[in-house]
Symmetry: C2
Subunit: 443 residues, 2 copies
């Protein structure tokens, strides 16, 4: 790689990196000492949360000039991070046109398509010629459009009737009518203004568009969403699912930025729920206390049995939660998944069961450790493993479907959640197997 050491981008990256450890006071001093170009470039590279932080220590006139650099959708993101007073102050400083647009965008919820779109886009009329369109676009471009890679054709009622790429414009003859070269409405992919950002990201991931138009119920064009916003949404949604699958509530900010007690709350909540579930194991165990008293060696395998159930459940739930999130499997596929996972669970269980039996059966000092009846003990362990692994696999794979069926987030079927369910039932399987094989012998 050729060195980019002199580059502004490179320098800004280094600043962002090296400032991470600064105290707020130092950060403020460093920022105010930057030259204008670097300060602007630095500001543009920040997340909207960090931009809001920079705003807290900037004099008002600097705020306005920095805010003006932002594309409309990013400006709205920043406004949503500011305190009500700062927000009003900044909106007041905007020109009237921008003010109207900003207020329209602020009316959307943050995590729907409307909240992410930019209401400035390149617009054309169907009856223009290609030559007129190119000239008209060139004029519009001066007005700070975020994207001109697509031009949208709207009628006099703002209804979206078609779209075309700049490339299509470029390759067409100058006197051709836009009407003849545009892609017409029914063949266009559009995004409803109130669709969830997650759904929106899926549409982008499935099609290969750099930008898509947002329309309201009546078909009116409201704005454009560009794929760079989608990249953020995808990372955000995947991170939320990660945190949920790990057994906690999703965080709203990066790890090091979340306040300690905020993080504690999000973790403690689920831990307590899981703990409450796990106390059922203690209750279940009291029913088997007599069995353990008679054959203490049964206790030796408890952790092995319940963990194997938990591990197979964790695999299955993570696999299915992610597959559901990517639409690789859908609700209606539950039966195919059920059949597949039944066989998987059976096979995995048999596999571990056989290893478990061998573990007991061929252990060097098995007789002194597990007594005369090590054969029956190994059978108990083996059969329990088959049952517990099957149970874990089926619970882990079906629970996400059930949650989704009832409009809950499948990612709630976290690895620890599945493990907790399987722990309680796994104990019952184990001690039932013990009763079956060891009654009248050890029990």
């Amino acid at each position: 790689m050729v060195s980019d050491a002199d580059g502004l981008d490179q320098r800004v990256d280094e600043l962002i990196e090296s400032w991470k450890a600064l105290s707020p006071k130092e950060y403020e001093e460093h920022f105010l000492a930057l030259d204008k170009i670097t300060a602007q470039e630095f500001f543009l590279c920040l997340s909207s949360t960090d931009q809001a932080h920079v705003f807290t220590f900037l004099p008002p006139k600097f705020r306005t000039s920095l805010a003006k650099l932002l594309p409309l959708d990013d400006l709205v993101d920043l406004l949503q991070e500011l305190s009500p007073e700062e927000k009003n102050e900044l909106i007041t400083s905007l020109d009237n046109w921008t003010k109207t647009e900003v207020n329209a965008l602020l009316a959307y919820k943050e995590d729907v398509a409307g909240g992410l779109m930019n209401s400035r886009y390149a617009r054309l009329r169907a009856d223009m010629t290609v030559e007129e369109a190119l000239k008209y676009l060139r004029a519009q471009t001066q007005a700070n459009l975020e994207t001109i890679y697509y031009a949208y054709v709207i009628d006099s009622n703002q209804i979206l009737v078609g779209a075309l790429t700049l490339r299509e414009l470029f390759t067409a003859k100058g006197n051709e009518s836009i009407n003849n070269i545009m892609t017409m409405r029914p063949n266009l992919i559009t995004i409803p203004e109130n669709i969830e950002q997650e759904e929106m990201a899926k549409i982008f991931a499935e099609t290969e568009h750099l930008a898509l138009p947002v329309v309201d119920d009546s078909g009116k064009m409201k704005g454009v969403i560009t794929i760079d916003d989608v990249v953020d949404v995808l990372e955000e949604e995947a991170t939320e699912d990660f945190q949920k699958i790990g057994g906690m509530e999703a965080l709203e900010e990066p790890y090091l930025k979340v306040h300690f007690f905020e993080m504690f709350k999000k973790r403690a909540g689920w831990l307590v729920v899981l703990f409450a579930g796990e106390t059922l194991t203690a209750s279940a165990m009291t029913h088997f206390e007599d069995q353990i008293a008679k054959a203490v060696l049964l206790a030796l395998f408890i952790p092995l049995i319940i963990s194997s159930g938990g591990n197979s459940g964790s695999q299955a739930s993570t696999l299915i939660v992610r597959a559901l999130a990517l639409d690789e499997v859908r609700l209606k596929d539950w039966w195919r998944v059920f059949v597949r996972e039944t066989f998987s669970g059976l096979l995995l269980g048999l596999f571990l069961g056989i290893i478990g039996i061998m573990r007991v059966f061929f252990w060097p000092n098995k007789e002194s450790l597990y007594g005369h009846h090590y054969g029956l003990v190994s059978l108990t362990v083996g059969v329990s493993l088959i049952g517990v692994v099957m149970l874990g696999t089926l619970t882990g794979s079906m629970l996400p479907f059930i949650l989704k069926r009832f409009k809950l987030d499948p990612a709630v079927a976290s690895a620890p959640f599945v493990a907790t369910i399987v722990d309680v039932t796994g104990l019952v399987i184990y001690f039932s197997a013990a009763k079956l094989f060891l009654s009248g012998i050890l029990l």
Copy 2:
């Protein structure tokens, strides 16, 4: 949303959806029955794996005509999925120019920047005027460039010297020299040709570019990567991490497409490793057999204790693995994370410990269940919980750093892997606490 029911895109989506359950034979018949436009559109919407599947049953001349529709980088992806004979046959059918380009791209590994880029891009010379540039671009556009949103300025040795957006071209005066309006090399973000796709995706996610130029060590321009390829990479990498964190090897295809035994292998491998680890719990337990024999009620809390360790470990590892993947924390932050997680673990442990003590202490029939010494039993459970939760939190948060330090994938620190480590040590903590509080009383 206005109905798009007549739309081609909509129809193709429905086809893809409804064909999912078809047998290969039916799929073939259905595909060959499509009209040309729909077949082309359908083909373009498929993943490269599915495109390769379609190729297996198409007559050669159809293959070539479909392949010609693909942008160069997607064509290369398809070629990589084909059998060696099919691949050669298809390459032979290409025109000479495309053949040379395709062979150059095939020389890259699939998961580095070079393997994802498109070697057709809009190129300009620095000494052109804006007017000449626009005319020149318009001519190039006919030649099937994937993107014309950026134009790249190269010198006579193919060295990248600058870049500009179409918008910059549009807004500049016609007689201005490209040299004066382009962004010059040191200020451009470039991607080295052999960088891993994961690193490449991070550069896109941090900057906000729709396309970035790929250069070799000498600064020669090799191609362009567009952000739509990055979206795929991000989803792919997140899915791999999901599967690893769930305790299995990453799959290479969507859930329903992976062959049953392929999936079995990827799951069984880790399950056996974890099982082998868990058998250590059985070994550890033999050391505490005497304690259990003397006080069977100690066995009752074993699942509760070890699961609490596993759950807190699962939270911490998932959190840190994801934060490392997004560069929210870096290797050098390990100490900050260590301090933070020590306090988190302590607090979470105290929290669960107190609930655990209350659970035993205030249980209705505690004396009949836990005997006279329920106070000391509850203390044993409470203190063990503090120790085990701290241990789980620290193991889960530090293991990903250790793995990364030794250039291993942090996602190997899966929830089940951490749980297994914590299970063994958790038992030692629990029975040590029991010895401490109950020696001479129950033990």
